[in-house]
Structures are given as C-alpha cells and as structure tokens.
C-alpha cells in the first residue's frame, strides 16, 4: 500500500483520499480507524453499517476472533481487532479490563472489589463485567487510587 502525506498551508481542511481498485477488508479497516479520529466507530449489524458515537459504547469485547461493540440496547460487530480499537480509544476514557474486553469508564455505574483482587463493574445498563486481576491494579491507578 502506498502512503502519501502532503502537508501544505494551502489546504483549508485535513482531507484523506483513499484510492483503491476495490473495496476490500483492508480499505474498510482503514476507513473504520479514521472514523475513530472523529469519535465514531464503523460497526455492523444485520449486514448494515452504522457510524456509532464512541461515547455511546458501554464496552467492546473480542469473542472467537470477532469484535463486538455493546451499547445500552444494541450489540454491533466491528471489523477492527480489539487492540486496534484500544489504541485509538485509550485517550478517550476507554480502558482495557481483560484480554477480551475494553470498557468505557464514563459508562461505569459502580465498582466493587471482588475475589482475588479483581473488580466487578456494574455498567449504566446494570450489566456486570469483571476486571481481571492483571488489569485491576492498572484501573486503580487510572482512578488515582495508587
């Protein structure tokens, strides 16, 4: 893939043009990653593609090589890998809580200590997810407790 960056003051806005001979999965992933810069993520549901505001996301989970995006009332699928989404969203209040999932801290209703120094998260839709021991100390640090 050829990458060309042209920086010049003559351009009023940042513009990204993708030229390709077909719309393949690489192009779709590129588009999805660029959408995240605008606080949106490209997701799919029932063969339809949606642009989802990241602030609406409760958490994102990787299950059997697929990436699922959960909001209060919908579940979507993303073409991006969890680590790709994580890289883009870490600066935006998202936090890795296990090898399989990242959570939107703003969507956490309450936190409870659990067995083996894990943390049980109750989300705003009352769904519960667990922060694995490996990441719970990091979450405590992020919240200023360490």
């Amino acid at each position: 893939m050829k990458i060309e960056i042209d920086i010049d003051e003559k351009y009023p806005d940042t513009e990204v043009v993708i030229r390709a001979n077909k719309l393949d999965s690489d192009v779709e992933r590129l588009v999805a990653m660029m959408r995240m810069v605008n606080m949106q993520i490209g997701v799919r549901k029932n063969d339809e593609t949606y642009l989802l505001d990241v602030e609406k996301i409760l958490y994102i989970e990787a299950v059997e090589r697929k990436t699922f995006v959960y909001t209060s009332d919908e579940t979507y699928e993303s073409d991006l890998k969890l680590y790709e989404i994580e890289q883009e969203l870490l600066e935006r209040d998202f936090f890795r809580i296990s090898k399989q999932s990242i959570v939107n801290i703003r969507m956490i209703k309450s936190l409870k200590s659990d067995i083996n120094r894990k943390i049980r998260i109750t989300l705003r839709n009352d769904e519960q997810i667990v922060v694995s021991r490996m990441y719970s100390d990091e979450l405590r640090r992020k919240l200023g407790l360490k």
């Binding site: 209040d93 801290i105 703003r106 956490i108 309450s110 936190l111 409870k112 200590s113 659990d114 067995i115 083996n116 894990k118 943390i119 694995s132 021991r133 490996m134 990091e138 405590r140 992020k142 919240l143 200023g144 407790l145």
Partner: protein
C-alpha cells in the same frame, strides 16, 4: 504484564504456608495447655515437649484440605459469582466440618467431653466472626474508595 500462572507448586506452597501457621498455633497451645491435657487429649499427649509425628501428619492433612477449601470458595476457579461474605462463611463452615471429622477420627480429644467441644466451638466461632468482619469491613472501605474515585474521575471533564 502477565498474570501469574498457578501451577501445582503454587498450591503446594500455599498448603505449606497454611501448615506452618497451624503447627505454630498448635505448638503454642501445647506449651500453654499441653502439660494439663497430656493424659487426656491425644493431640497433646507429649505435653509441652512438642508434637508427635502422627499428629504432625494429621495437621498436614488438615492444611491440604484447608488449601482445597480456599481454592473452591475463595477463588473463582469453580465459583464465579458469589459475594465475599458468603464465600467466607462457606469456607469456614466446610473447614469446621473437616476439623470435627478429624477430631472424631483421630481422637484429638475425648469426644464425649462437652466442655472440650464447647471450648473448640467458641474459639472457632470467634476466629470465624473476626475474620468475616475484617473481610467485610475491608471490602466496604475498598468499595467506597473506588466509588469516590470513579465519581471524581467522571466529574473531571
């Protein structure tokens, strides 16, 4: 940052750590009440001179069973969703049942002596209540601290 993988050696280490505590407690008890009870309780038949090899082996068996109970009730290896309080109660009850069985099986003290049973039950119940209370208080303090930190984080932006 990798999570420590629990091998069989982890559990062996844990069992021996528990064994160390049990032997220490029983050694102190034998020093304090050993002489008075040596003609009476098999557990302290050597008085304050120490503990016999069979007793030490029985205590090792107890340590192994306690470690098993810890794995079952105090980790999420088998039980995923249960409050810490209930986990502690189940742990203590299961260990109590095992100790009662061992008292009878190994004749640690005469099973018809109600005073001995009463002493055992009271000391066990006390340690159970204190431990459960400390766990609960620690859990509540930690939860409050985390919730306050979360609220502060959400107010930030």
């Amino acid at each position: 940052m990798m999570e420590e993988k629990k091998t069989v050696f982890y559990y062996v280490r844990q069992a021996f750590a528990t064994y160390g505590v049990i032997v220490l407690v029983f050694a102190i008890m034998s020093i304090v009440i050993g002489e008075r009870t040596k003609d009476y309780a098999a557990l302290f038949f050597m008085g304050n001179a120490g503990m016999s090899m069979p007793i030490l082996m029985e205590l090792l068996l107890l340590a192994v069973i306690i470690t098993l109970a810890q794995v079952v009730f105090l980790t999420d290896t088998w039980i995923m969703n249960m409050s810490l309080m209930i986990r502690n109660v189940l742990f203590f009850v299961s260990v109590l049942i095992v100790i009662v069985f061992m008292i009878v099986a190994f004749n640690w003290f005469p099973t018809r002596d109600m005073t001995a049973w009463l002493g055992f039950i009271i000391s066990y119940a006390l340690s159970m209540i204190i431990s459960a209370l400390i766990t609960r208080l620690k859990e509540r303090a930690e939860n409050t601290k985390m919730q306050e930190a979360l609220d502060k984080y959400n107010r930030r932006k």
